[in-house]
Structure formats: C-alpha cells, structure tokens
Amino acid sequence: MSVTDAHEAATRAHHQEWARVVAALTRRFGDLDIAEEAAAEAFATAVERWPADGVPPNPGAWLTTTANRKAIDRIRRESKRDDKQREAQMLRDDDPPQPPGAIEDDRLRLIFTCCHPALALEARVALTLRLVGGLTVAEIARAFLVRETAMEQRITRAKAKIKANRVPYRVPSAEDLPVRVSGVLAALFLVFNEGYLATGSGTDPVRRELTAEAIRLTRLIRALMPRDGEVTGLLALMLLTEARRTARISADGELVTLGEQDRGAWDTALIAEGHHLVRERLATGERPGRYQILAAINAVHTDARDVRDTDWSQVVALYDQLARIDPSPIVVLNRAIAVAELDGPDVALAAIDRLDHKLAGYHAFHATRADLLRRLGRSGQSRAAYDRAIELAGNTAETAYLTRRRDQLG
C-alpha cells in the first residue's frame, strides 16, 4: 500500500470514526478532556503507523483500542497525583441499561452534552465541531474568524463548565427531548448558515467546509433519530440549499439571486434527496415544525425548472403556515418576497414597510425594499435603500450584487 493510500485511509477513518471514538471514550472514562486528547493521539498514531504497518482490517476498532490505551496511560500518570479529585469530577452516567431497540449510540449522548442549553450557542457550536465533527481548534477558529487562542479558550471554558456542573452524559428524557433536539438543530443550522452566507470582508462568500460539516452532522443525527420530523426537515432544508450553492455565486464573486440562477447548474442529486425527505415528512401527516416548512418552501423553489414556473401561491401558503408557529418579522419579510411575485411589488412593499421599526438594522430588509422600490420605478428611494443595505451587509458576494444593482438604477 502506498503512503498516499494510507493517508487517505486515515483521513477517511477520521471522518467516519472520530465522533464514535470520542463518544465511546467519554462514556468509558467520564471525561471530555481525556476522550478528546486520547482520540487525537490515536489518530496521530494512525497517520504515523499505517503507511508502514498497513491499514488495519477494522480501522474503527483499531482506533478505539489505541485511544483507550492512550487514555488509560494518561489516567495512570495522573492518578498518582490526584485520583480523588479526578473521580469527583467525572461526568455522571446513571442511565439504567437501555432497553433493546432504544438509541444506543454514544455519539448522541456526546451531541446532547455538547449542545447543552446551559452553554452559550457559540460555545455549543465550537464544542460540537471539535468533539463531534473532529475539526481542529485552528480550523474552527478560522471558520469563525476568531484567533486560535480565543477559540481554544472558548472550548476549554465550555468543557470546564460541563465538568464543574456535572452536565449529564445522556440522551435527554422523552419529556425534554423536543426542546433539547431543537437546541442541537439550532447549533447545526448556525454552522450551516455561517458557511452559506459567510461574514467578513476578507472571507470567501461561501465556506464549503462549514456547510459540508453541518450536513454531515445532521445526517448523523438523522441516522440516530430517523423519526424526528425536525431533524429530517433540517437535513432536507440544508440539502436543498446546498444544491444551489455553485449557481448562487457568479464567476466574479457576485451573489446571484434565486430568480437569476442558472438552474441547470443546480445539483440534481441533492435536490432529489431533499425532495424525497420532504415527501417522507408529508406522508406522516404530522404537523410540521419550522425546519420542515422551510424545507417545503425550498422544495417548491427547486421543483421549478424555470423561475416563471414557481408555484408562488404555494410558497405564500407555506409562509403563512410558518408565520403561525414563528411570527417573527423575518418570516413576514420573506413572505413578502413571494407576495411580490403573486400580487405585485406594491402589495409586498406595504407589508414590509410595517416592519421598519423591527428590522431597520437588518440588511435583507433594506435589500428587499430596494428591489421592490426599483420594480415600482421609485429610483431615488430605491437608491437610498440599497445604500443602507450595502452598509449593513457582511457578505462579500452580497455587497457586490447590491452595489451593481444600485449603480444600474436610472
């Protein structure tokens, strides 16, 4: 076997096995620090040894065994110093034995611990990417445009809080599950959105590594909780959004709006999978949550081979449904964009002008107004709205698009 093959095998194993190894070690040793360190050491050993020794027949088992050994070595070293203290700080695991058929995967416990509601959302995101996703601290720091030392601190603080508070290492009870799952999904959606609409003037407009990681982790959660509607909804939403990624940014780095995208460049495999998931949820007849409705809206868009074929009344109906469970001004704003297609820009403008006091600091509010005013021939007001949107937008592709649109005004 070539060195390249061995490295590829190690990379693949890292993708497939990292979370499983960390989760199993956390379960066994009750300590996130030990699990993370031992897993990292085991993977480093694999990279070192596999090219010479060959890839083991079961890489996952090899990694778990190696990591276990590393963890035990470390505990032996440290227990001579302070085993009482270590024991006191161990994470708790007083679950009764799981009934057969119940969720057995340790990775779920790991995800729920990383996304515990006592942690700030940004800490949940960082911990999840490190401990479940296996990204390095440097990679996470780069993705969120913070210094590596700051990211290291954020992760260390979060782990210390988990330990000091005895955050339990378990899947929440059925009663708490819906709320806790929504906390996990919120963290993953944030990772995805940061990848899809990256902020920062020196940044790529799309950060593929973040959207890909968010999808991978959501797939993992879906594999573990296949019957949770919102998990499936979020995965479908991500897939249908990701499908349009390449069509969304022009060759010169400008945002291309949904209406102007080359639909032939959309990823048909992702769209097919997304549509399949949306249909699967519809077939259950259960009342959909936020992510399922958003996925359905994206399914309507990706169903139209030409923007003129879009079923706008269906889009508006779905936004109405969404507004009933999430009456936020942003939902009203997005609904108005569909209303403009159905009833005309004047009706849409009247609807969003009522949001001025709530969304005055949100770039998309001004960008939408600017577009509606442009379509109504009110160039002066449109220009002012574009100016405000450009001022507030943080994404380079979006800024480029808005600037061109403004400069094209008569």
């Binding site: 006191a88 700080q89 708790r92 007083d94 000091a164 005895r166 955050v167 339990p168 708490d176």
Partner: protein, 109 residues
C-alpha cells in the same frame, strides 16, 4: 453534588403573600423529593456591612460590597445528582418566587 440557586431581584421589598405561599409549597415539594439542603431570604442590600480584617485593624464599611441595580434577594442550596436535575429545581424556584434565578455548582465533593 450541591448547587447554589441565587434569587436575582431588582426591587426592594420582599415577596408578596402569593409568592410566599408558592415558595412554601415549592419548598415542601423539594424537601419531600430529598433535594433540600438549605434556603433563606435576605434583607435589603442597604442593610449589609463589609468587614476587612486583612490588615492591622478591622475595618467596617456601610453598605453592600458592590453597588448594582440587581442583587441577591435569597437563595436555595439543592442536592442534585446532575445539572439537569438542578436546572429543573431552579426552574420551579423561579416560578414560585416569580424572579430570575442563577444556578452555580459548589466544588465537587
């Protein structure tokens, strides 16, 4: 494992009669469930005295050590196996006393 649950208040004046009734009922439940360690309500921050005996003489200063709009009006100490249980208890406490609360773990035993 013990958790300190501090009651955060921003108005002087103690709990209303309704709140006291709710707190008593909540306390009885906590005791029955075996989570009770201790609890107490505190007088206004203006009644506090700060003592500094680190130097040659003992210094007494009038008033709270920190002037702030919000202060601790009382607290519970709960015994709980983990944070999830402590958070549930704290949520019940917040509802009963009709105020925000903060949960903070003691050092593990």
């Amino acid at each position: 494992m013990q958790y300190l649950v501090s009651v955060i208040d921003d108005k002087s004046g103690s709990a209303t009669e309704d709140e006291m009734t709710a707190i008593d009922a909540f306390n009885a439940d906590v005791q029955a469930a075996g989570h009770w360690v201790f609890a107490g309500g505190l007088n206004a921050p203006s009644t506090a005295t700060v003592i500094d005996n680190r130097g040659a003489e003992t210094l007494f200063t009038d008033g709270p050590f920190l002037e702030s709009k919000e202060y601790i009006a009382g607290f519970w100490i709960f015994e709980a196996p983990d944070l999830d249980v402590a958070l549930k208890l704290a949520a019940g406490g917040s509802k009963a006393c009709n105020r925000r609360v903060e949960v903070r773990p003691f050092f593990g035993e």
